[in-house]
Amino acid sequence: MPTQLFIPGGVNQVRMFLILFCLTLALQLIRNFGDQFNFFKTSPAKIYGDSPAVLGLFRIPRISSGSFILAGVVLFLSLLAAALGVIPRVSVAVALVCYFFYFSPIISISYVNRKTNLIPIALMILLFSPSIARPLSEPTPEWPLVLIKICIVQMYLSAGIQKLRRCGLKWTDGTFLRDYFLNHYLWGDMSAAMRLAQNLTLCRVLSILVLAFELTFWIILFVPALAYVYVVSGILFHLGTWFTMRINYMKYLMPVYTVFIADVACRWLVNR
């Protein structure tokens, strides 16, 4: 672990991450608002049931169309304000609250369910980060960014562990992944999934690669030099699930993934 974990050093990567994270998230909000509002209007709770409670404890009340639009607008503006350094801590706090009101009613939409989970966690970490209001050139401790990387690691590691827990190493024999491809073809006509399902050897190779990727992603915490290899592998992995099964993690994972370029971007800006 670097010595700057708790002792200030280097440049203010945390502030840089805040800027990149908030801007990319605000952009995604703008791009998808229309689609998400249309989904909201279809009353998804009638098919999917109620949205999950926050931490399994606090249920978000159902909101009207007007409140949904308001939550979206305030979320967008607070992200923008945080990125521009306008009372950043308050802006992050407002964005965190608005996240739950905005995404709760549309949590069942395919590219939101689970895919936005890291957003409130990252916002919470930023909220308690000491350096989000300081200049980019100021040395700051790196623990908030390491914590965000741990959250990304947990996502992949847990996904791998759950596979091993339920199926053991048998998960890599290819039949499990083949059945998932087939399942996606059967209900969604995804021809790429069917083509992959027809090739058990390829399914076996992909199963091994997926499990190896998920179970070893944590290495980036200890060998930062490998981070870019894993980040590129992660992007390819998510693009693969998008093209074969229409599972789009990149839309809302990208803002969190900017944690891996915060250092480079910050140094570039400071040295200009």
Binding site: F39, I47, P52, C167
Partner: protein, 159 residues
């Protein structure tokens, strides 16, 4: 320095608990997708299809493409419940009907009306392997529900 350490311990502790327990507590998740084995041979996938006025049968597709999957999962759940008792048969029929009324509502919202269709088909899709070791799909209509049977509860299409 105490606060950052305590804060980090809480966040990592929650993540660890979620990972070990395999449970979800939104926004924390164990990301257990793709981990359970699927048994597609015993119970296949159920899909809703629509019968046009000219008799052609087409799949129900939604812009929000997970809707057909979710409806199919619920139909599958109902079919797995089904046994020979009249009471269960009645519950399954009523729940299926309720679900199809919601599907009709979604189609009406997305397409603006239901006039071009006359009936729902519930189709069970089962995969199998042929002589050349290729995957083949067997589609079987397990129920046909005319729209007229539903509109009395759903209301008239907004044409």
């Amino acid at each position: 320095m105490t606060f950052p350490i305590l804060f980090a311990v809480v966040i990592v502790g929650i993540q660890l608990f979620i990972t070990i327990s395999g449970k979800d507590a939104w926004p924390f998740s164990s990301y257990n997708m793709f981990s359970a084995p699927l048994d597609l041979t015993e119970f296949g996938v159920f899909r809703v299809a629509l019968e046009r006025q000219d008799g052609e049968i087409v799949w129900w597709r939604s812009h929000f493409y997970r809707y057909p999957e979710q409806v199919g999962k619920r139909i599958r759940g109902l079919r797995q419940l089904e046994n020979d008792t009249p009471k269960t048969r009645m519950v399954v029929a009523l729940e299926t009907r309720k679900l199809l009324i919601e599907v009709a509502r979604l189609i009406q919202q997305e397409e603006g009306g239901l006039e071009s269709y006359q009936a729902f088909h519930i189709i069970e899709r089962k995969p199998g392997i042929d002589r050349n070791n290729e995957i083949i799909i067997d589609d079987k209509t397990v129920a046909r529900i005319p729209f007229l049977d539903l509109t009395s509860q759903f209301g008239e299409p907004n044409s």
